[in-house]
Symmetry: C2
Subunit: 405 residues, 2 copies
Amino acid sequence: MVQFAERTRGLKRSAIRELLKYTEQADIISFAGGLPDPATFPVDFLAKVAAEEILHNSLKSLQYTTTEGKRPLREALAKWLSEEGIKTTMENIVITNGSQQGLDLLGRAFLDAGDAVFVSLPTYLGALQAFRAYQPTLVGIPLEEDGMDLDFLRRAIREARRAGHTPKLIYVVPDFQNPTGITWSEEKRRELLKIAEEEDLFVVEDIPYRWLRYRGEPFPTLGAMDEGNRVIVLLTFSKILAAGLRIGALTGPEEIVQMIVTLKQGADLCGSSLTQRLAVRFLTDYDVRGHIARLCAHYKTKLEAMLSALERYMPEEAEWTKPEGGLFVWAKFPEALDTEKMLPRALSHKVAYVPGRPFFADGSGQNTMRLSFALATQEEIEEGIKRLGQVVKEELLALPLAERR
Amino acid sequence: MVQFAERTRGLKRSAIRELLKYTEQADIISFAGGLPDPATFPVDFLAKVAAEEILHNSLKSLQYTTTEGKRPLREALAKWLSEEGIKTTMENIVITNGSQQGLDLLGRAFLDAGDAVFVSLPTYLGALQAFRAYQPTLVGIPLEEDGMDLDFLRRAIREARRAGHTPKLIYVVPDFQNPTGITWSEEKRRELLKIAEEEDLFVVEDIPYRWLRYRGEPFPTLGAMDEGNRVIVLLTFSKILAAGLRIGALTGPEEIVQMIVTLKQGADLCGSSLTQRLAVRFLTDYDVRGHIARLCAHYKTKLEAMLSALERYMPEEAEWTKPEGGLFVWAKFPEALDTEKMLPRALSHKVAYVPGRPFFADGSGQNTMRLSFALATQEEIEEGIKRLGQVVKEELLALPLAERR
């Protein structure tokens, strides 16, 4: 028996990642996984600039780079973020291996064992995984249609403090959240910042889907509304450029960014120079706005196909979100329907989804599921949701009559 | 004041990395830094295969990959390592962001606060940084010409145990160590494995310079000699392919590799698909042995230039190692000569090195320095060591007479 550290107790691999194994079978229509559609990757452009950067700029593309990341990338990002109203400068940006590394380094910077982190119910699974390595107290806050239940949050912060769990971070995905697709209202955004200020906490605003809006108008980001230096913003190029480059970024108060850089040095010295150079070229030599407009048109059709198919094929006992962007729809069923237990039935009907429970810090949510519309074609979405509707109906029929609602 | 976690107290950024700022001035001849010579990067090959992989294999080069890393890369690595005699299989390999991430994840897997890690005096600075994030007790073991003082190690393990510091890991760089260039004898390698077995510890064998041997015959790696499943091997492509790709790997006992994969999932989900694909192509489509032979010829001339210049320009009070490979020579001066204090004098003479103290877990080594011969030309090495000899002579003359030896 290897004697591992205390922090590894009870750590589990992501249920989603393990599930991906099953969904690789060609005849399964999969709404599992959270991958962007590779059809959206600007392949020709990336092939051209990769060859150019390696051939003509090898000192900058193949040698080690600085821990905080390449200066031109931080400059271009500062410009990009300022267009979003997020007040930042090159000096307050650190490039990370996807936003996931940002989550890990924030856990490392802030969390002693037992410290309280407030997350919505449900929340992004990867954030739970990242924070859990630092043994915090994860406090789940109910998620409403327009964001967290903020009265609940206020009470939870005080209760945590009373119980000796120092409140440290509030983690939110305010735009088209993974897994629900829910977007926070402007009012709740404002209120959240007030709470952070009053309670002396930091807000981690994760915005991977921010630019994937297919309908309606965006609300300002928390980073843009932040007057009190309370917001740390995480972003990623995984959904707007290419996931396999692993380029993310973190920006926030200077003292925090400096600490993250120090911690990243121990964690991996620096990121890849090559993939950072590709991101620089994307931001400076490509029509990013036009690219994003094409992405949005592409995903919009898929989202509409899924919402329409759900309407047609789901039994009336089912509910689901109607997101205005992102990659996910979230469905909810009668309490007694356990989506983990239902999964084998779904797989036998050649359709896959992600059971919702792992997204809940408190272990609830057994009657929920996440559906990604990103990878399937319109026809597959139609057929897949049809199969899933059938699966749910069969599963409901197998329940005792009183538990079918 | 931001309330950071306890583990961040006293964490410092690497002195070396901060120093790199000064050495960027064009007129300074720098022996600081630990960067490989970019002239050794196979630029044409990488440009060609990068364009090919992105254009014709975008699903595999631009999408997310698995946490453990691409299967063909793990396969090719297993083959490569088995040629080195290291008994491993694809299943027991995880791809990391350079070997630095391997160090971080090992700290995370094994170390509770106070646990003992045994490192040589001096040792690789990045290992100290990685482990320190987990608040261990770092126990320094004197390094002799042929490896650690193993009697000292045995006593230190027992003392740590008596003092309540659970011994967990022994960290070694047995081939052309960073910073000293020292290589362990076969006898000491064997003895170390015996100690690990008797004391129920794991050995972390870091082999970034393994393939950079310019003279003499290699000894077997610890991984190859390991009968008791006690060795975790870390390797990197940074010195034999290109540092900016950030491709490293960890292999070892299955239970440990599985834990590392679980922890990596929380740390950054997965590495870059693109740079992993480039490493696959390097291992399968390139003349790796021929490439390494050219690398070795390239660095051999530089190492010889440095050793010869040291002989000619250093005062007799100086001592230095005579490595058979790697990227570094290590120099030692009379106790009273403080290489950190001497650095401004060196910079004013337009030459740079890394002061040795940060490489010592116990804060000693103020009279030592690391000299990298990788980046400078032969002419620069000659001129730079000439300048440095002058700097040392001046510094010695400034010392009280009794302290000059």
